[in-house]
């Protein structure tokens, strides 16, 4: 989608955004992109919004106003709940203070970090960016910024904890956070009263790196975000670059990309169902899932050469043509997998203990899911029709028949079954395509130095656990001016606080398992 930004101006921004949401039904805030637009325009944000009834998207550009040395933009947290973490991310990287946001702390970087690294004038001198070996500063309070009558910036302190709070850190080293995520959990007995997510333990600055890399080089990083959606991540990035360059792909490429995306989805969902079992203590069901995932990976590896880091799509096509046995292997795999999925349901999904553990846990209704940006199977479990493959089709998705799985309860049990049913749908998609892969080029030759014409694009794909998007601002160079990814997991983690208030600490693990997030994807 080429962005045509609406601009409202600083003073009318808040009211116009409220009108977009309340009158025009743009109730899903896809992402907030912070950007340093250069010396003339200064810092600002691009908001990408979606109308959830018509699935129309629009984008709003808002430049930050300079107050003294600080940059400010009114917060939209009251309109869209997922703006909480998204605005904190922008604050972290660009130092834009969002007026009225109750919790303006850093999100990914350490609290004692100096400066805002994604600003174009940030001093990149390695000597000044040595990694410190000191302990990080732990904050007990947070600041809300507002403008007073004279237009001065004033801060209000909010306490994060009270004196008699029992605070347990789930993570950063914990078996069920699936990586280095730290959930600072305030407990009352075994009941959760509050969750503060602390991110960035595996933050690698991929977006900053992308601003120095050439376009082909940026591809090498995408597989390393959500490694279980490696194909989809890269699909989004090559998609946005190809759209910017206007490359026409051959049918063969589109077919193979669709099949690969779905194989990757099966891979993710198998691991997901397995990990759900593991987090609930059913190690045997976990290993059944892992065993069958091996077969999926074997099939993919014969063609891509990778198991986790797939490295298969490139700008203008694919890294290599499919393996000669690919078609027969995939068909055999589909035949093998169907009864196996029933086995997971038998041993784990239909088990009365699983039902007891999952039902009514981490419930979120459709309205909140939209507001918190809980996309993917987690959102569809509450009935929100948000499948990017259906509503913003790419590759072959508008040509194949598949059902968008939506359930109604919005609890962990439905999230689990949503994944199970999606495996069947993915198998259906693959079976429709696998016999009809047309002849043609697997790679459309590109110039040695790839340049994208000037403009801004946003391209999103349906990742395994939600919408994965790539925003590209090109100034006609061989490197991107700004490349921003919409991670799948960030909004999921942001919603955990809301989902879990008043539930048991054991439900935190369950909800986390059923949500399906991968930390390197959140942290980037």
């Amino acid at each position: 989608m080429k962005l045509e930004n609406k601009e409202f101006g600083f003073d009318s921004f808040a009211t116009e955004m409220a009108r977009l949401k309340n009158e025009k039904h743009f109730d899903y805030l896809v992402t907030v992109v912070g950007e340093d637009f250069g010396t003339e325009e200064g810092l600002g944000c691009i908001y990408i919004l979606e109308n959830t009834s018509t699935h129309e998207r629009c984008s709003v550009k808002q430049l930050a106003k300079k107050v003294g040395e600080e940059f400010v933009i009114p917060s939209v947290i009251k309109l869209w709940a997922d703006a909480d973490l998204l605005e904190r991310e922008v604050y972290d990287f660009y130092g834009i203070k969002f007026l009225g946001h109750p919790d303006m702390r850093r999100l990914f970087l350490r609290n004692d970090f100096k400066g805002y690294p994604l600003r174009k004038d940030y001093d990149m001198d390695p000597a000044k960016n040595m990694y410190t070996t000191e302990d990080d500063v732990e904050l007990d309070t947070t600041t809300e910024w507002n403008l007073d009558k004279n237009g001065e910036l004033v801060g209000t302190q909010h306490a994060l904890f009270t004196d008699d709070n029992f605070v347990v850190n789930i993570g950063p080293q914990h078996p069920s956070t699936h990586g280095v995520l730290r959930l600072q959990t305030v407990l009352d007995g075994e009941t959760v009263t509050n969750i503060y997510p602390h991110l960035g333990y595996i933050h690698r600055g991929i977006e900053k790196l992308c601003e120095q890399f050439t376009y082909p080089q940026t591809l090498a990083l995408t597989d390393r975000m959500n490694y279980l959606s490696a194909m989809m991540n890269r699909h989004a990035l090559v998609g946005v670059i190809e759209e910017g360059m206007g490359i026409e792909l051959s049918e063969r490429i589109l077919y193979i990309r669709t099949i690969m995306d779905e194989l990757q989805r099966i891979d993710n969902h198998l691991l997901y169902t397995a990990c759900c079992a593991q987090d609930l203590g059913a190690l045997t069901a976990f290993l059944y899932g892992m065993r069958d995932r091996e077969h999926v990976l074997n099939v993919m590896e014969e063609t891509t050469g990778g198991r986790l880091i797939q490295n298969y799509y490139r700008i203008g096509g694919l890294q290599a043509d499919i393996d000669p046995n690919f078609v027969s292997n995939v068909k055999e795999l589909c035949k093998y997998l169907r009864p196996m999925i029933q086995e997971y349901v038998d041993v784990f999904g239909d088990n009365v203990i699983t039902h007891q553990r999952f039902e009514g846990v981490g419930v979120m209704d459709e309205k909140d899911c939209i507001s918190y940006g809980v996309t993917g199977p987690a959102g569809r479990a509450s009935g929100w029709k948000n499948d990017v493959r259906k509503y913003h089709p790419y590759a072959m998705y508008d040509k194949v028949n598949f059902e968008e799985i939506t359930l109604t309860n919005g609890d962990s049990m439905d999230r689990y079954f949503c994944h199970i049913k999606e495996i069947y749908q993915s198998l259906n998609i693959i079976e429709q395509l696998i016999d009809n892969i047309p002849e043609g080029e697997f790679y459309i030759k590109q110039k040695p130095i790839i340049k994208v014409p000037e403009g801004q694009w946003y391209f999103s794909v349906e990742g395994a656990s939600g919408e994965f998007g790539a925003y590209l601002d090109s100034r006609g160079d061989k490197t991107a001016y700004r490349l921003k990814f919409r991670p799948m997991g960030l909004t999921l983690v942001g919603a955990m606080d809301k989902m879990l208030r008043g539930q048991k600490i054991a439900d935190l693990v369950t909800t986390g398992a059923a949500l399906d997030f991968v930390i390197p994807d959140i942290d980037r």
Binding site: T214, L219, L221, T304, I309, N311, E343, D346, N351
Partner: protein
């Protein structure tokens, strides 16, 4: 899932049924073939590694064991990590008098490589490729710095594996040692 109103005993009954189903499945799996592959015992027998697996970078050589690298440094420029370092000199051909770049050293740091295959894509002379040789463990980091022009790669520790090794079938594991 439809809302089912069940009696106390009906609930207990259906719960026990699901538990029994679970136990039936695990008992069945108790007797199915196992999935553990016996590496390293199987490394020369039943091991399969995909031909396209990216284990390490090698020079392609023709039958005279000559390489095709012209030291154009396209791969060096393409590498996001600075894994490849090429040293070259200009040599004048005494017969034609033309100046030509001559490769002195092709240094490839396996420890820095992230196997993205951009160097292979960038090469215009089809001089380098990845092989599926995965036994790259060494005791010293410095041993990971390889000089591709100096070595003549014959398949590393498992020459028979270069074409993929043993056969493999979807849905099964090569669990035997022999």
């Amino acid at each position: 899932m439809e809302e089912k109103k069940q009696s106390y005993f009906g609930e207990v009954g259906s719960a026990l049924k699901t538990l029994a189903t679970g136990m039936k499945v695990t008992m069945k799996e108790y007797f199915t073939p196992k999935s553990t592959e016996q590496y390293p015992e199987n490394r020369e027998t039943t091991l399969h590694v995909a031909k396209r697996h990216r284990g390490r970078l090698v020079f392609k050589r023709d039958e005279n064991e000559d390489y095709k690298c012209t030291a154009c440094t396209m791969c060096e420029k393409a590498c996001p990590n600075g894994t490849i370092k090429i040293a070259s000199e200009m040599v004048t051909n005494p017969e034609t008098g033309k100046k030509k770049k001559q490769l002195l050293d092709y240094e490839y740091d396996l420890g820095d490589c992230m196997f993205c295959e951009l160097c292979v894509n960038a090469c215009n002379f089809d001089a380098i490729e990845f092989t599926n040789d995965f036994e790259n463990a060494v005791f010293d980091r410095s041993k990971l710095i390889l000089h591709l022009d100096k070595e003549i790669y014959k398949g590393g520790s498992l020459p028979k594996l270069i074409e993929g090794g043993a056969d493999w079938k979807v849905g099964t594991f090569n669990t035997k040692k022999k």
